[in-house]
Symmetry: C2
Subunit: 433 residues, 2 copies
């Protein structure tokens, strides 16, 4: 007997048929002798519809009320799912926010999970019931309803699996979605992209953060911390998808496992700020207050001043301009410039730790294709290059080709290319916010 946590996305739950299909899957697993927890998303476009309704009523709705509004989406699908399971002859009980005991901090609309009181869950499972949990929501210690932010249902599923002690061999957290699994690149951009059988948590975190769109990176990090095996698979096919698991020595033999594109970015450069402690903090505090995520932060020292640059997704450019101007007013010196129409192509793989020259191979591939690299940032298992937006897709394809990601690992060459990397002289990587 294993413990299965099955999470279905909103697309799979768009109508009564979708709900019945997910219910049938849960019932089949239950009849096979497994304990099953189903985690629901809101049906179809419900969350967007509710947000639009709120937008018609208030310009800046209080976040507490927004949470109370949005949680109804998952509550509806959870109740319907429990009914559908019951209709198939298996006892089911839906546990919305208050029933589930998923306790969060009080940060409305973007709450973090503190703990899950699993006693109720276990009691229901031990009574041979299928538990249907509402994704995306929790309550504070004071009983206020909160939501976990977009992608929160993935996190709920993995957190429940973690709280129930799901580990390799005792169970799995299944994420049912509208793709077959995790690919070496987005198949819409790279036709040669290949579905991965397995990927490590770390690699998946990097790919998810780069917008692979299959699974929220927060959920993967949760899985990594508690070693929960995560199976990303298609909601209507039966084929195996991609297992997200702990890194194994075998994985390190492959230098790059996947690559991703962030298609539309702007780059902010701040020149001539004093090279003294606290300057970065003034800037990034204003950015955080504006709720903007920035990435690819690079700082280059130039004597008594420093130059700083970072990227943001295109829709945030107007807001970031205001935030940085506020910061520069406080600092008293420094100039901002903005470049637009950029893209970012990234290669990810735990193998980078042991393989040399991965960066060089990537730069060569981009160079051979005539693509100019504006910025480079690296982490232990990722290399990212900022390129012109109109060359983004091409960049993704040539990187995918360069690392032969379309071939299965056993066929790929063990040797990595020989060129030396050509990194800029004094590149300081600052942790992403």
């Amino acid at each position: 007997m294993a413990l299965l946590v099955q999470k279905s996305g909103g697309t799979s739950l768009a109508d009564a048929d979708g709900i019945r299909r997910c219910a049938a899957r849960a019932v089949a697993a239950h009849l096979d002798g497994h304990q099953v927890v189903v985690v629901t998303s809101a049906m179809g476009r419900t969350t967007d519809d509710l947000l639009a309704l709120a937008g018609r009523i208030a310009s800046a709705p209080p976040r507490r009320e927004l949470d109370l509004l949005l949680v109804t989406g998952e509550q509806v699908s959870a109740a319907l799912m429990a009914m559908a399971i019951h209709e198939l002859g298996v006892e089911a009980v839906s546990l919305p926010a208050h029933g589930l005991g998923l306790i969060t901090d009080p940060e409305h609309c973007n709450a973090r999970i503190h703990r899950i009181e699993v006693d109720r869950l276990r009691r229901q499972l031990n009574a041979a019931r299928i538990v249907v949990a509402t994704g995306f929501q929790g309550i504070t210690g004071q009983g206020q309803v909160t939501t976990l932010g977009r992608g929160g249902s993935d996190t709920t599923a993995v957190a429940i699996a973690a709280a129930l002690g799901v580990k390799q061999g005792t169970g799995v957290c299944e994420i049912y979605t509208d793709v077959d699994g995790v690919y070496t690149a987005d198949p819409r951009h790279v036709p040669q992209a290949r579905k991965l059988d397995r990927i490590s948590y770390e690699e998946m975190v990097e790919l998810a953060a780069l917008g692979a769109g299959v699974l929220h990176s927060r959920a993967v990090m949760f899985g990594q911390r508690y070693q929960v095996p995560i199976h990303v698979r298609h909601s209507t096919h039966d084929e195996e998808g991609t297992m997200i698991v702990k890194e194994t020595p075998e994985m390190e033999r492959v230098c790059v496992v996947g690559c991703a594109l962030t298609p539309d970015l702007g780059r902010i450069t701040i020149r001539g700020v004093p090279n003294t402690p606290g300057v970065q903090s003034i800037i990034f505090k204003r950015i955080a207050e504006a709720g903007i995520l920035v990435d690819d932060i690079i700082q280059i020292e130039a004597g008594i001043t420093a130059d700083l640059s970072f990227t943001v997704e295109a829709p945030n450019l107007a807001d970031i301009k205001v935030a940085v101007q506020k910061a520069l007013l406080i600092i008293g010196r420094g100039e901002m410039s903005i470049e637009v129409a950029l893209a970012k192509v990234s290669a990810v793989g735990v193998g980078m730790r042991t393989h040399t020259n991965v960066a060089a191979a990537m730069f060569k591939a981009l160079g051979d294709a005539g693509i100019n690299i504006a910025n480079i940032t690296t982490s232990e298992i990722k290399i990212s290059c900022i390129v012109p937006r109109e060359q983004g897709r091409l960049a993704l394809r040539v990187v995918h080709d360069a690392f032969e990601l379309g071939r299965r690992p056993q066929e790929s060459p063990r040797e990595s290319p020989r060129e030396e990397p050509a990194l800029s002289p004094r590149l300081t990587e600052v942790k992403a916010l």
Copy 2:
């Protein structure tokens, strides 16, 4: 400073405009110095839509899950209402089932209110906030979500007013609806019908139970028990509606205050059951188990056997047949017959207690119009006659005319008609289930 509980029906909350209008009304009262609680219904046809969705998924959905599904309707409108009030510059907080502390028994889909923990409500009101409560729902002592049955939002509003100690002179429970108030008869059937300025709780209970449709009788009974003044008024007009208040001596001077029609009934007659204790209980237990409401119960003894008859609304005829057949199988004797295509016309007024010959006047009016009376039942303040369905509307009109309900009370004759009543010989009135 008064305490106002304002309840709006689903029709008034059908869209963003409707919600904004109710919010503006609450804000106006707040700015006038009153404490305001808004009780919401589900928007427009939401509850019916959710029930239809459940119907597509399960033939007999578990009632617990049905409750969890249905409460989302009021939750959505409450959150939106709080946003709309906030947008107008007044602090508001929505309190759904768990936040409100409305404690019920565990009878899912038809729960009864045990108590309301008003401390939270008072704290919010004393902090100069408008409280938005979700109607129709509560929680059990164990924190399970329940609903109060159809019309439950009216009951929630009156119960909250009662719990907050609203009495004549300290506040009012306002029921905003799509009619101007309570009429002497349904204006769609009787063009001469007149809006009442005031009506007693008892009269309103009888009219509500007869389907006057303005206000749920349960809410009125709650109001009566705790002496909560209830104002039924139109949600978009500013005119006064109808105040439902404690009976005054003045009210007794008017013999009949209103009349009502139940347009489509069936009558079940059971003949020849043993006239021994417990026989009725066997029959009505089966009927209650089937969840059917019956009315106009009449028993006529005939030596060692008894004849029993009662009415049900037409849609319940098939179910009641099965329930009664089960009962007769247990009893071992007795025969059932069913009449269909009946209607019921009723006259209601606390004045009946002191006026004689009200029944006679009603029978004469019906007789003069050539309408045959199949059954008669009476209570202290109500007389009901079962008539052929196709003569229902005519019956309503002639009764309305007979008691001159279209005239204002001061113009109506103080003398009641002189004829004697013609009641059937041994009529036993049994309390409605």
